[in-house]
């Protein structure tokens, strides 16, 4: 754990994101999230709708800035930067969104879409050099750059649009790539192509990645370590093999058990969740936020917020009754 903190390229420290609803009520989207990501590593962030994973991603991007806490990228706290310094720093971290069609401006050509980051970063180059740079990037993500240049998003399939989004995110050669459900809207065969592409690009560009998804199998495929969130809080964090093989948090266990395995001979898993609904993030449960659905909940879970503890080196869990 200690060495990860020291070599961290990206650190989220006590990150809190709240959205104000009225004068008194707030949505507690992310509450005190602390994770560290090493250079060249992919951290998978998983959880169900409303767990705060997208809010955390947006807080990393400073879109909008988090309510409190720090986002440290290579030693610089992004949350403390002035607007103009942040603008300059942005070329170091970029994002790919879920909906490949909605995230591209339908009225722009691919050339315009990929020029935008270069213009914002005030790259000084001739039009010809810029075109060549765009073509090279498009070729790199598996499109025919020359042909794509003057086309608009509607002329491409969903998978191709996602490749354009990836090209747009990578054209400034960022060091950190944040993917928020980047393959969730794609068909399986296209999803596999895109996941392979992201793995290749990560190595080629030396990227550090924050990979957000609700799909546990997809996350396992790309991640070195995985963090599980529930209702704004971190439940468990471990390397990808450990968290799937020996999940310690009751929520992680249920989440994994719920994934249908494409094998007709697999034993059907039964969930141990207490029936009920996800509590509201406006008024989250006291103590452990998972306790209202947890089969192991006790009085202590209602009164005391569980602190993340290290079960084994690199495996932390925030639970009063972790399973071993």
């Amino acid at each position: 754990m200690k060495d990860i903190v020291e070599d961290a390229f990206l650190s989220l420290e006590d990150l809190t994101v709240e959205y104000r609803l009225t004068r008194r009520t707030r949505v507690h989207a992310v509450s005190g999230l602390t994770v560290h990501v090493k250079k060249g590593e992919t951290l998978g962030l998983v959880g169900e709708s409303g767990c705060g994973k997208s809010s955390a991603a947006r807080a990393v991007m400073q879109l909008p800035r988090p309510t409190s806490g720090r986002v440290v990228l290579d030693g610089v706290d992004l949350a403390s930067l002035s607007h103009s310094d942040l603008q300059k720093a942005r070329r170091r971290f970029q994002m790919v969104f879920q909906d490949p069609i909605a995230s591209l401006n339908p009225r722009q050509t691919v050339r315009e879409i990929l020029s935008a980051p270069l213009e914002i970063a005030r790259e000084k180059e001739t039009g010809e050099a810029r075109d060549q740079r765009i073509i090279d990037m498009l070729d790199r993500v598996g499109l025919n750059g020359e042909q794509a240049l003057n086309r608009r998003p509607h002329e491409f399939s969903g998978g191709q649009c996602q490749r354009i989004s990836i090209a747009r995110a990578l054209i400034l050669r960022p060091e950190l790539l944040v993917c928020d459900e980047a393959v969730s809207a794609l068909d399986v065969s296209v999803q596999a192509q895109t996941l392979n592409l992201l793995e290749d690009l990560k190595l080629e560009f030396g990227l550090t990645m924050l990979f957000i998804s609700h799909d546990l199998a997809v996350v396992k495929h790309v991640s070195d370590r995985v963090a599980v969130m529930y209702l704004g809080m971190l439940c468990e964090l471990a390397d990808a093999e450990t968290i799937y093989r020996k999940p310690a948090h009751p929520y992680t266990r249920n989440l994994i058990a719920a994934v249908p395995e494409p094998d007709p001979d697999a034993e059907p898993n039964t969930l141990e969740l207490v029936p009920g609904e996800l509590p509201s993030p406006i008024n989250p449960p006291s103590g452990c936020r998972f306790r209202t659905r947890c089969p192991l909940a006790t009085d202590r879970c209602a009164s005391e917020v569980p602190i993340a503890q290290e079960l084994a080196p690199g495996h932390t869990v925030a639970c009063h009754h972790p399973m071993s």
Binding site: E48, S49, S157, G158, G159, D187, V188, S189, V190, Q191, A192, Q193, L195, N196, E199, H214, D215, L216, A217, V218, K220, H221, V222, S223, D224, A240, E241, Y244, N254, L255, I256, A257, A258, V259, P260, E261, P262, D263, P264, D265, A266, P268, L271, L273, P275, G276, E277, L278
Partner: protein, 328 residues
């Protein structure tokens, strides 16, 4: 053989587009027994939803159905029925659960109103009787506090609860056939498991036949008796789930199975992606539609479309099926 509920014979559905006729479903035949669940899998554009809508008679006006296409429900041909004749059947003998319960439910009517409307139309229940039945149905699909929920609007329910309500509406008249079109795609995994459990229980309790449309092979593996794989408007392989998973004959099915990320795989395993894209359905290639993407392709595949072959309940359409010594 059990009692056949649904028979689809040579279903062909096309749409007129600016570029010409787009054949979304080209010659699909299948039959389904009472109590069985058929998983219909395929990627976007493979024609699975259009097939479902063709069965339900819910096609838009621009759709053209082939002259030899027939849909029989309990032996009665639906294809030639007028909209007026179809109404008492749809919702009563066959019904459908859609992907997104927020758009399939009417946002301006309470859950109870939507349920009692169906009950009163088909079952001629009294107002009070229908309401009582609505509460019972909501309880049977596991909606907590059904007496309160019955008077609530869809937006007051979570996604999972809305889908439970939609299932209650679909099964309220004891249909013989239930079509569930991607019923859990919009839901979280833990909720998905609960909804799939509920659908399975409903099929058992009401002794229905179900077509479960999904793009998730995991859902097929655990929840279906049989599976039909669609590609470019045709069923390219069909049979019992175990047979299809363990003795895959059609290269497309095999490619689909190996491109799925699995939780049991080691991290960073490279996926066997299928290169290329499905063919244009306005001007499809003359041979096998999967040929341009197939690893085992030969000259014959490009020229001649493979006819479906059935061996011991396992149907496939391929010139060079996998795991066979001699080409079929």
């Amino acid at each position: 053989m059990g009692e056949i509920v649904l028979d689809v014979v040579n279903q062909r559905t096309a749409f007129a587009t600016g570029r010409g006729m787009l054949t979304a479903v080209s010659g699909v035949s299948l039959s389904l027994e009472r109590g069985k669940t058929l998983g219909l899998v395929g990627e976007s554009g493979s024609g699975k939803s259009v097939l479902a809508r063709s069965i339900m008679g819910l096609l838009p006006r621009a759709a053209v159905t082939g002259p030899g296409s027939r849909v029989l429900l309990n032996g009665r041909e639906l294809t030639r029925l007028s909209e007026r004749e179809l109404r008492p059947i749809r919702g009563a003998e066959m019904s459908v659960v859609f992907q997104d319960p927020m758009t399939s439910l009417n946002p301006t009517l309470t859950i109870g109103k939507q349920l009692t409307e169906t009950l009163r139309f088909h079952k001629r229940l009294s107002k009070a009787g229908a309401r009582q039945r609505a509460v019972e149905l909501l309880r049977s699909v596991g909606l907590p506090q059904p007496e309160i929920r019955v008077d609530q609007y869809p937006h007051q329910l979570s996604g999972g609860m809305r889908q439970r309500a939609a299932i209650a509406i679909a099964i309220c008249c004891d249909p013989d056939l239930l079509i569930a079109d991607e019923p859990t795609t919009a839901l979280d995994v833990t909720v998905q498991a609960e909804i799939l459990d509920l659908l399975q229980r409903m099929v058992r309790e009401h002794n229905m036949a179900m077509i479960l449309i999904t793009h998730d092979m995991g859902v097929v593996a655990g929840r279906c008796d049989d599976v039909a794989v669609m590609y470019a408007g045709r069923i390219v392989e069909q049979g019992p789930v175990r047979e299809i998973f363990h003795r895959t004959r059609m290269p497309y099915t095999a490619a689909l199975l190996s491109s799925i990320p699995r939780i049991s795989d080691p991290a960073h395993r490279r996926l066997d992606a299928i290169g290329g894209r499905p063919p244009d359905l306005i001007d499809p290639p003359p041979g096998c539609a999967f040929a341009p993407r197939c690893k085992h392709v030969s000259d014959r595949c490009h020229r001649v479309r493979p006819e479906p072959v059935t061996e011991a309940g396992h149907m496939y359409a391929c010139h060079y099926p996998l795991g066979m010594k001699e080409p079929a």
